[in-house]
């Protein structure tokens, strides 16, 4: 067996379906403004975990690229990022407060399975005061919005540099 085998190439990258921000610049500007105010005052580390988790649930490649890189650059551990995909089984990587936020993130992201259960809401309300909870809900709604832009326009992952949009 040769030690100089050619590496097997990856599948080709497809271009985005639509460069939506160029075609809807006023919407893009308004989204940037919304992003800046939603989640203001939330722990930035928690906010990044919430963004990664919602992006996993919604399968947003571009958003996972961005937020895992931002989280790593901000000092988040690789383990905590990877285990987000199975947070229910890896509770010992997160605080109770983070777990309540992740559970709320899942519920608000998957509304089609039936509302946001009382027990999920109440656990979150135990760990977050009312103002904080309102901010957390806004942050979850807004990453869900970015996920929809990313997935519907099939914006490819891999080109994000940490802090690029800060």
């Amino acid at each position: 067996m040769s030690t100089h085998e050619e590496p097997v190439p990856y599948a080709p990258e497809e271009p985005a379906r639509l460069r939506w921000a160029q075609h809807a610049p006023e919407v893009y500007k308004a989204m940037i403004q919304l992003d800046a105010v939603a989640g203001q005052g939330l722990d930035p580390r928690l906010r990044e975990l919430v963004k990664i988790r919602a992006s996993q649930v919604n399968h947003c490649a571009r958003c996972l690229d961005m937020h895992s890189k931002d989280a790593l650059a901000a000092g988040e551990s690789v383990e905590r990022i990877i285990q987000l995909g199975a947070w229910q089984e890896s509770r010992h990587f997160y605080t109770e407060k983070e777990l309540a936020a992740l559970e709320l993130t899942d519920a608000i992201t998957v509304l089609t399975d039936g509302f946001v259960p009382d027990e999920v809401y109440e656990r979150a309300a135990k760990h977050f005061d009312e103002a904080e909870l309102s901010r957390l809900i806004a942050a979850i709604a807004v990453i869900n919005a970015w996920n929809r832009f990313g997935v519907s326009t099939r914006t490819p992952a891999g080109h994000y540099h940490p802090g690029q949009h800060k």
Binding site: R17, L18, W20, A21, H23, A24, E26, V27, K29, A30, M31, Q33, L34, A36, V37, A38, Q40, V57, N58, H59, C60, L104, A107, I108, T109, V110, L111, T112, G114, F115, V116, D118, Y121, E122, A125, E130, A131, L133, S134, R135, I137, A138, I140, A141, V142, N144, A145, N147, R148, F149, V151, S152, T153, R154
Partner: protein, 147 residues
Amino acid sequence: MNRTQLLDPKVFRAMAAVSAAAKKGLGDPGLAELVMIRASQINHCAFCLDMHLGLAREQGESEDRIHFLSAWEETEDLYSERERAALALTEAVTVLTEGFVPDEVYEAAAKHFDEAGLAHLIALITVINGWNRLMVSRRVPPGGRQP
């Protein structure tokens, strides 16, 4: 337990700005309401349904076209091909958890909307999904809209 009705006014205004820009860019207020009603049905948002059913009626939308939205695929002659493409895209972009936005759905929409129209349609679907989440999670009751 009562849920918080708090929503930072800055967030509300920023959301309203995204909505306004999306609607303006789409330039079809009738279709905009159909899209927002359909997404609110899928996400079970009582507050949003109340608001957009009211707006659709005020704009003169027919009761038939409102009633049959949840079964638009089974209807004949009630919605145009362009509206049907937009409704199919609405459903796909609203339910991302069941697997992306299929090529055939995207392509059907791209046949009826130019790139700017499509970008604003996607934005509108996205922003109503945002409102749905803000209202369902806080369990905001219907009836908050002033006609």
